[in-house]
């Protein structure tokens, strides 16, 4: 009886004779470029072109360079810019914290039933339309809503939450939590659980183990997750309008108003560019502070 290896060896030359090239998992540069071309075209057409056009419009339409001085001279636009950025930072911090807790439980929970319920809770905001989602939050934080019932029950008393920046933050956090959970789930799933056991076996409390092992290992992923959440939050439009009652203006509302109500395209495009540049700069600085070297090291 021929051994397995012999069988294979005998089969090999016949393969060669038929001219089959040995299969390789790598693709040549040219082939790779051809395969990527549609994607590159999409990227150019739908990302780069509009951005460049936006930048050019902001410099050429209506008042030219004055569009920018108008944006900065306008107190309410400046306020909208601060509001957008500060609210987004707060949203990011809360979202990543909640997302991390949820993702960690999703990774560690043993019961499949509990896991399914958790996933359902995480995915729910994804399945809801924007308006439904915001309406749910309105019901939750309104004067007669669940949250106020709760506050009243514990003796704090009903608070004005709806139409404050608090409501806007709650609303955006609710929309953003799935993004944080998705990105952090991958991060946590990639961390060997026995590292925590090892830490505990050496005398670390649960909290110490999380702080000294999990947190540093998850940090790069958490920063990436925060960057994602921040970048999306900055562009929120409907939630600030519906939950902020006009008093927590986001840049998107200002831009929208300048396009649709005041017909000032130059101002709108300049405001868009300012928002884009400032948000990108903040992201850049934040990533810088965390340290590229640390990111790379932990990822490798």
């Amino acid at each position: 009886m021929p051994t397995h290896a012999q069988t294979i060896r005998r089969a090999l030359p016949s393969l060669r004779r038929e001219g089959a090239r040995p299969w390789s998992p790598t693709v040549g540069n040219v082939k790779a470029l051809i395969l990527l071309a549609p994607l590159v075209a999409l990227l150019v057409g739908f990302v780069f072109y509009p951005l460049v056009k936006l930048a050019i419009d902001s410099l050429t339409s209506d008042h030219g360079l004055r569009n920018y001085s108008d944006v900065f001279a306008n107190a309410s636009t400046r306020r909208a810019l601060y509001t957008t950025l500060i609210a987004s930072v707060i949203v990011t911090a809360i979202t990543v914290a909640i997302g991390a807790m949820l993702a960690w439980h999703l990774v560690t929970v043993r019961s499949p039933a509990v896991r399914a319920v958790l996933w359902l809770a995480v995915l729910a905001p994804f399945w809801m339309g924007t308006v439904v989602k915001n309406y749910a939050i309105i019901l939750f934080v309104s004067h007669d809503g669940l949250l106020n019932d709760l506050l009243a029950a514990v003796g704090i008393g009903r608070q004005q939450i709806l139409y404050t920046s608090g409501a806007v933050v709650i609303g955006i956090v609710y929309s953003m939590v799935p993004y944080a959970v998705f990105s952090l789930y991958g991060v946590f799933a990639g961390i060997d659980q026995s590292l925590l056991s090892a830490a505990q076996s050496m005398g670390a409390s649960r909290i110490q183990a999380l702080r000294t092992i999990l947190v540093p290992l998850a940090m790069p992923g958490a920063v990436a997750s925060a960057a994602l959440v921040f970048a999306i939050s900055v562009g929120f439009y409907v939630t600030p309008v519906l939950l902020g009652g006009g008093q927590t203006p986001f840049m998107a509302s200002v831009i929208q108003a300048n396009i649709l109500t005041y017909y000032d395209y130059g101002f709108a495009s300049a405001a868009s560019v300012v928002l884009l540049v400032v948000a990108t700069a903040i992201l850049g600085i934040a990533l810088r502070l965390v340290g590229r070297e640390r990111l790379v090291r932990a990822v490798a």
Binding site: S142, D144, Y163, V238, G245, G246, Q247, L260, T261, Y263
Partner: protein, 371 residues
């Protein structure tokens, strides 16, 4: 359904924003392709109306366009451009490829703005005179007449208060009425017109004299602590009242009636409101100006058609005769119902169409809202 949906400015605002940016891109492409479309002209062709889509288009087709065609007029097509009319007209004009002949019920403020840019056809003098006679002098402008008009009205939740402010000065009186309020956040000209009345200008004079802003903003400033929220969409204004988040609101009349019809205990005061007309106009560059004017003339001359249209869509129409043809219960809800119309403050759109005036008002208003 269809009630007020088409015209609510901020409704589905996210979509509108997207649509508007599309319009910008279209304009960019259009200029390079150099006006192709409508260079043929001729009388047998259909008129194209930039319109609001949905039930609104259907009403306009059923009660105006179809009878007009049946009477020997041109056929009419509708281009759904809900809330992006100005951007679309702007794009067509810039690219010199005008595809619309008419625009239906564009907000008066927008219409004046477009007219300043020279995008609207002026009515022949004879036609203008004749229309003023048929519809009333306040319903006709140099470039068109009003249609699907609304009023911003004072609405009170009567579960929360014994009496509702019955005039603009009362609405601004926070001593007598300390309850919370909601104001519209956009389209400041209407709220500002009411604020000028609170600041001392008689309601009957607002349409003709330049608004006196300092006392108006002073009145608004006193009101500010009681303004709990600014609504962006008509849906939101309803929701704020319904949920009891605010006790009073300045909101569109149609939405207010809907709240009442749904059983909410509210009072609607048309005595203390602002008139918000919309305008039919012919677009400069149209290849069918004469036929388009004929269509407008036909609408103005047919009060029964206007009455049917108003009954179907719950928007007000300019013709006083149409008001008489409507059942009273319906008519008294509409802004053009003469007893209502007399009490409404009409904004000075001509003043607002001057960009530096608009900029000054808008700027201060935005600071007021976001401040």
């Amino acid at each position: 359904m269809g009630q007020l949906c088409g015209r609510s400015r901020m409704l589905r605002a996210g979509l509108c924003l997207a649509a508007a940016s599309c319009a910008l891109v279209v304009s960019a492409c259009g200029s390079s392709s150099g006006g192709g479309g409508s260079s043929k002209g001729g009388s047998g062709e259909a008129l194209v109306v930039g319109d609001w889509g949905g039930a609104f288009d259907q009403g306009t087709k059923q009660f105006y366009a179809d009878p007009f065609a049946a009477a020997g007029g041109a056929s009419v097509k509708f281009d759904d451009a809900s809330d992006t009319q100005v951007a679309r007209i702007e794009a067509q004009q810039r690219s010199h490829s005008v595809t619309w002949d008419l625009v239906d019920s564009i907000s008066a403020a927008d219409a004046y703005l477009l007219d300043r840019k020279g995008y609207l056809v002026h009515l022949p003098a004879a036609m203008k005179t004749q229309l003023k006679k048929t519809l009333g002098p306040t319903k006709v402008t140099d470039f068109g007449f009003t249609m699907s008009n609304l009023a911003y009205v004072i609405v009170c939740n009567m579960d929360r208060m014994k009496t509702c402010p019955s005039s603009i000065p009362e609405f601004f009186d926070v001593q007598r009425f300390p309850q919370s309020r909601a104001l519209p956040s956009g389209a400041p000209i209407y709220t500002m017109t009411m604020a000028t009345v609170a600041g001392g200008t008689p309601a009957s004079a607002t349409s003709t004299i330049a608004p006196n802003l300092p006392p108006a903003f002073a009145a608004l400033g006193k009101l500010r602590p009681k303004v709990k929220a600014f609504w962006e969409s008509a849906d939101q204004s309803e929701q704020m009242m319904r949920s009891g988040e605010v006790d009073m609101a300045l909101m569109w009349s149609g939405r207010a009636w809907r709240l009442k019809d749904n059983g909410m205990n509210i009072q609607i005061n048309l005595d203390g409101g602002a008139y918000e007309p919309a305008i039919w106009a012919v677009i400069k560059g149209s290849k069918h100006v004469d036929e388009s004017l004929k269509f407008m003339q036909w609408i103005a001359d047919h009060p029964e058609a206007q009455a049917r249209w108003a009954a179907a869509l719950d928007y007000s129409v300019p013709s006083p005769k149409a008001m008489k043809l409507l059942p009273k219960a319906k008519a008294i809800r509409l802004a053009d119902y003469p007893p209502n119309f007399r009490k409404l403050a009409v904004p000075n759109f001509q003043w607002y169409a001057e960009p530096k005036n608009a900029a000054a008002m808008n700027q201060q208003w935005q600071n007021y809202v976001r401040g």
